[in-house]
Symmetry: C2
Subunit: 136 residues, 2 copies
């Protein structure tokens, strides 16, 4: 069975703190990333935190993009979840450039593959979560 | 350095297809998950696709929850990204129960750790993405 969704997880460091605290710049960067990723925007929420930090979630016809910034650390986390159409890697590259990240880590996950052999049923009322901890 | 965010990735199978296509039920499930996770909602977008499928993104004071459903496969993907406060695992358990998933895989990622030794700088204009493909 083919995967249902492609999920890129981006961690980006060494960004200028003023950029990571500029909600309008982040809004524009997300819109550019959506265009580059050939995705279709359904809804965009951009929220400015006090004293610093911005969170934005873009609901897409393809799934979603989310970004959370920590200006005080020069860091942002972003997720690009695309199903079927679109180019999430191009969207990620646009965001990296727009927010001037100098150090990045990008991981790709295939979502919605057939259950792997090691997973097992869980009772609905006491979910037996098959957990794994990864360091990104 | 401590992690900045806790990110749970949930893949859930064997859900009733009518539930995964019921946008109002999914809206309520997300609201219950946010309460269980002791999180604070900033904005919620729930979108019904035609002929089937629902996407929802919740922007939180703690970061975000996103869900995408494939009723035709009895599958949904959900992400719980929390910083600082909150209990993302409890939020995930509520969603699993509300959407009657009988098979689940949950992975946890620590977001915003210090750069690992194997990562390297990338030029802003030609981002050299340090990529890794994982099967979820």
């Amino acid at each position: 069975m083919k995967q249902l969704g492609q999920h890129l997880i981006l961690d980006a460091w060494q960004c200028p703190s003023d950029i990571l605290n500029d909600s309008e710049r982040i809004r524009q960067a997300i819109l550019e990333a959506i265009t580059a990723g050939q995705a279709t925007l359904i809804d965009l929420c951009v929220h400015q935190f006090s004293p610093h930090g911005v969170t934005a979630t873009a609901t897409l016809a393809e799934s979603h993009i989310a970004i959370h910034t920590w200006p005080e650390h020069g860091y942002f986390a972003a997720d690009f979840f695309f199903c079927g159409r679109g180019e999430p890697r191009k969207a990620a590259e646009v965001l990296i450039i727009a927010l001037e990240a100098r150090q990045t880590t990008l991981k790709e996950f295939k979502r919605g593959m057939e259950m792997a052999a090691e997973t097992h049923p869980s009772h609905p009322l006491t979910p037996d979560l098959n957990s794994q901890t990864c360091l990104v």
